[in-house]
Symmetry: C2
Amino acid sequence: MSNPLVLDAPPGQPLIEYHREFDFPVHSVFAAHTDPDLYARWNSSGPTPPRFDLFEPRSGGAYRWVQAGDDGVEYAMRGVFHTVRQDEFLLQTFEFEGYPDVVTLEYSTFTGLPGGRSRLTGRSLYPSVEFRDEFLSNGMGDVMSDGYDQLDELLGSVPAGS
Amino acid sequence: MSNPLVLDAPPGQPLIEYHREFDFPVHSVFAAHTDPDLYARWNSSGPTPPRFDLFEPRSGGAYRWVQAGDDGVEYAMRGVFHTVRQDEFLLQTFEFEGYPDVVTLEYSTFTGLPGGRSRLTGRSLYPSVEFRDEFLSNGMGDVMSDGYDQLDELLGSVPAGS
């Protein structure tokens, strides 16, 4: 059984808030967000893993990755890391280039829990309530939930301590 | 007579929207936002201009500047440029390091107007309505308005075409 994604989209506010627990240590969950090889393995949505043009997980760094869909068409995501605090906190922008200038600001807080478990608490701000609702109605919640389930599988397959 | 800053803070929304016209061309107003020497001259709030530790006005670049107040105490601002489109558009994060992890996402659109004039349209998203309201009650609107008045003075003193 995987842990559920708990997602809240407050009415009239251009944001979502969510949390998700993991049966893995905070270090492992954080690494899966900042190591491009690991990140690619739980964020792939096509027949091949995403390709990273740039991935600089440090405060002031930037990233861009390209995913090919089942039809071979490529789409790209890019952003900047405003803050990276090892095993604690990420603050980054996110843009799907198919929606130019529609940029999300994403807060991710990583917390250790007893028993080698951890919690991810997220808050994403959208340019407007309308865009947030559009992304939600396009299945964003399911994509996030499926991604975290894949992250569970990934962490379960990685030798402890690696 | 300077042009007024028109600022709207919609109730219950964690954002401000504003616009300000300038009797100067869009190229000049944009340059004043992306040239650190010009930027320092209309954003100084102390006895000496701010000092730039880093200023990379390009998509994926970062910046940090330090201002000394009248009492000599230094405070720092930092962020990342998500998008820089020459003479058109800036999207950047902004953090006053005295409020750690309270980060604004700032959209700035530059539009040319007839007669060598221009308009800046801005939209800033805050982590919460509470922080937005706190910054507003601490005089953020006056600081912005004074800054744009200083920008007018600066542009009026710079030879045309420079």
